[in-house]
Symmetry: C2
Subunit: 583 residues, 2 copies
């Protein structure tokens, strides 16, 4: 199957792909360069992958180029091997389906460590700056040493399974830009391969830094293969979901062996990080009895059910060290799940939640012994005044490991708008130090997100993440706002659209009122018409100060007096930059 | 014109209007009572006015009943008088327009004080609890004395012009529920009377606590009359806009006399609060010269232009005491405008902004001498880490007067989504103590909001306001979340919809996936199908504890062991409450 299939990604933005080249020619970091009408350019972080490079021929059936293959190979600490045979049950099937099987990738020989840990953390601890670290540093605009040091300390992760060489390296940690994850996953057996890939490219086009494939039901293995081979961003999963499918959906039937087999299966495919609910301990389950909304995490429910059924300790906890060895051999990053996270405002920051967080801390330290990379997942539903405590406790209990939170939603009264209830909490928790935000779509609690919901969720979370970067004082974050504010004040409408998170929507909203092309360069907005403007006054005062070369304060005072006459002579009208809320 | 015109407000919610009756039979406070399928009821604050009372016959050409007329008259401190004759120029016209003039209300004789101040603050200071105060207290669920004390101290306002007897009293202050204002205003001369009224009823249906009529251009006076006569919520304006229309749009031509005449005109119509940019002092204008986005407030621009043109001090500042006397005679509440608020992240919390805030404080104290009610307007565009300083300074400089902020937007990079960029800031500033939030719609900076934008803005801001109430620990706020969370956990889908801020959208989103009616009462959601659920586990553990009458911790431990066997016997399946982001 080699016919070229172009993805449905269209980029209307007059932005061009540009590359920052590092210390070696194969470290080429993609950026989005926006050319402004005033001759300046703004260079922005770019998660969209090769799909937005006109020089790249898209063929989802071949997958993306293996960007990191050479770097992985040259380290000489991994080798290809035969790999686990793919079974029909991996796709939740009992018999082959010729139609679906057309879609399978040719078998690949997976790679794993031949000796010690092959994690970016292990390299960092040894003082090595890998090409992956340099790549991520260039994207962030920081020195590669900063990335190395944060990885070594466990305060950041760089998810990069050796079997996902297609991914463009990125770093997650509170020292860096706040990241956004988008969840995708097959919702119907009728999804085509192109549709699955398109969900991922759609989310990354709008700025998702990672995607989690939460598929259930049929064709899990094949769907994941397509996503991985075509994903320029790290891919996360919850292996427990697939393990549960393998036992017919009955949690009591789960075994560690089935779970471990699923981890190996996904490790060989190239999953970069895995959510594992190893902190849901038997003794914590009763702590949820008095809760308003019990256990709402799917993984948490599954493990609680297993613990109740067997009256035994969680097998993910009891086998954690062996899993660490596996994770070290592929460089899989832990995303330690919060299976007992609150599902309502009433349950926020309760005993069950923080008991599990303490165990996450214990597991984080064990994983560090194996040079594993670790993130901790966090809530959920938390009112604003209880958000900071979550970050402070996580940082303390988990030694500063990156925090990865779902929202949190700051109120429960707005189903249908939980991208907003949670963007509020996400922005705040990002400011307080959360490294990655898992998006929430408008369909949360109600149904399955469609294409529009995915976009709405990603945009709301890019807003939250960027607001957090601004509040954290991330170097360079404000330059983007400044460029847009300048464009706004100078009525460079096209620049304002092109610099926005969603140029299509900004342009469409403007054109509803003033569709004509010249309006986009005119010095007025749709609400006021062509008056003189406040900008002109500002410019006049500034020019006066320059011409007289006076200290600015004096110039301003003198300018004011002169302006009075000049202003009256010129008609004395100001620009009225009104929208109905600009009272 | 007495034909009955029904408004286009439809309320699909199975909620009924109910009334709390106070110490006298004419204090009847409307509330929205949601009947749940489990027999319980939830009573919520209701801003929708008589339109949602089936016993009320809507006739926008007659206006609403004059709820407060008796209370105002019985105080005996106001009298009707001839009033200022309405002029063609009040509607921005030179000649009569028979078609439009059909729409005029019959002339009404306005009312004003016969002696001292007739403000709610004056009564409060004298120790009187008015029916208005009792009404507002019942809505809030607090003792009337609390409202009186907060009004007397100037920490709250109860906007209630004696010429707007149709309004349902409400209180704005940090001690009370956080309020939301929606801006409306005619955007085209083709707007019909019904359309204007409908904008207001649409905004209040979704929860707007006040509306500001920011109309410009033709028919300002007549539009405002229709809105006031039909508005159950306080109405605010920016009189400067109309004054500017009267001088042909040239700020230099403005005079105090024209402004004063406009204030009287609007006072007689019943405007409850007025934005006045009296703090934009001549010497502050140069402070904006080095700003990224200069002056972005329309009122601020107008007054800055006037100051520059005349090189004189702002006439609103120099005549402030006379305006206080007028405000005292009608009970108009000040909304001291922030004409120098920042228009970009870069300009937040700068010298120009805080200089004006200090002057707002000076004016707040002067107004207190006249027993005026006062709010202070605030920004604007502020990154998260600079928000709290705004509230702290305002409280200190303005003696705890209610703060009334526009957003603030927490980033500038998302035109088209500024209801979200600003809902983040609004929730936070509400938590910190802001009393009322002025909404921002998705069209902010881009165009004129339509019906959908108004709804999107109001809902985003109700979320922000409620999240703030939760974080402030407002008594009763969490009961709403709890009721919805209970419904969610118990799969009472209809209750979940009916308790939500927007039942229509919640129901529609759910029905996209599972449209059948029985699905709404079934114990499963669209993502999982009919499994056993975590709720059932919780219930079983709870029941065990009750039956054995053991101390709960022991019961839980014992219950756990028993559950293991029982659970396995029953099939050992758990409910998997997944949505794709419920990893």
């Amino acid at each position: 199957m080699t016919d070229s299939v172009s993805t449905p990604v269209h980029d209307a933005r007059p932005a061009r792909k540009t590359y920052l080249v590092g210390s070696r020619p194969d470290v080429r970091v993609p950026m989005r360069e926006v050319a402004l009408t005033n001759g300046a350019t703004v260079v922005l972080y770019d998660t969209s992958g090769p799909y937005t490079d006109p020089g790249h021929v898209v063929d989802v059936r071949r997958g993306l180029p293996a960007l990191r293959a050479g770097w992985i190979a040259e380290r000489g600490d991994t080798a290809e091997y035969e790999g686990r045979p793919v079974r029909l049950e991996d796709d939740g099937r009992r018999s082959a389906d010729p139609l679906r099987d057309q879609g399978a990738f040719p078998p690949r020989r997976p790679r794993r460590a031949t000796g010690g840990a092959v994690t970016q953390r292990a390299y960092a601890r040894r003082g090595e700056i890998t090409p992956e670290m340099e790549f991520a540093a260039l994207r962030e605009g920081v020195a590669p040493e900063v990335v190395r040091a944060e990885l070594a300390a466990g305060r950041a992760v760089l998810p990069a399974n050796v079997n996902h060489p297609e991914s463009e390296p990125m770093v997650i940690g509170s020292r860096f830009l706040c990241k956004v994850n988008a969840n995708i996953g097959n919702s119907a057996v009728t999804s085509s391969i192109e549709e699955e890939v398109e969900k991922m490219t759609w989310a990354t086009r709008w700025g998702a830094d990672t995607v989690m494939d939460l598929s259930t039901g049929r064709d899990i293995h094949t769907t994941r293969e397509w996503i991985l081979r075509n994903s320029p961003v790290p891919v996360g999963t919850v292996p427990l979901y697939q393990a549960l499918e393998k036992v017919g959906g009955d949690p009591a039937e789960l075994t560690y062996e089935i779970f471990r087999d699923t981890v190996i299966e996904q490790a060989e495919q190239g999953v970069d990080y895995m959510t594992v609910h190893a902190g849901v301990l038997l003794r914590y389950v009763p702590l949820t009895a008095r809760r308003k909304t019990g256990i709402v995490s799917r993984g948490g429910s599954i493990m609680a059910a297993w613990c109740l059924a067997h009256h035994e300790e969680n097998f993910l906890y009891t086998n954690f060290r062996e899993l660490c060895e596996i994770f070290a051999a592929y460089d899989i990053t832990w995303s330690l799940g919060d299976g007992l996270r609150p599902g309502s405002i009433a349950d926020a920051n309760d005993e069950a939640q923080f008991a599990e967080l303490r165990t996450q801390g214990e597991l984080t330290r064990i994983a560090a012994e194996y040079d594993n990379q670790v993130m901790n997942e966090g809530p959920g539903h938390v009112p604003m005044h209880k958000i900071k405590e979550n970050v402070d406790l996580q940082r303390e209990l988990c030694d500063g490991a990156p925090f990865y939170t779902l929202g949190p939603l700051t109120t429960d009264i707005a189903p249908g708008y939980d991208h907003i209830t949670s963007a509020i909490g996400a922005a705040m928790i990002g400011w307080y130090g959360t490294a990655m935000l898992c998006y929430v779509t408008p369909k949360e609690h109600l149904g399955l997100p469609d294409r529009d919901d995915v976009k709405a969720g990603v945009i709301a979370y890019k807003i939250a993440a960027h607001a957090a970067d601004l509040a954290k004082g991330h170097p360079g974050a404000q330059a983007w706002d400044d460029a847009l504010s300048d464009a706004r004040f100078e009525f460079r409408w096209e620049d304002q659209f092109n610099l926005s998170l969603d140029p299509d929507t900004a342009r469409a909203f403007h054109d509803e009122t003033l569709p004509a092309e010249p309006a986009k360069t005119a010095h007025f907005c749709s609400m006021c018409g062509p008056h003189f403007c406040a900008m002109k006054i500002t410019q006049d005062v500034r020019r006066y100060a320059e011409e007289r070369a006076l200290p600015e304060s004096e110039a301003l005072a003198a300018g004011m007096r002169e302006k009075a006459a000049e202003f009256t002579a010129s008609g004395g009208r100001v620009y009225l930059p009104i929208t109905p809320s600009d009272a």
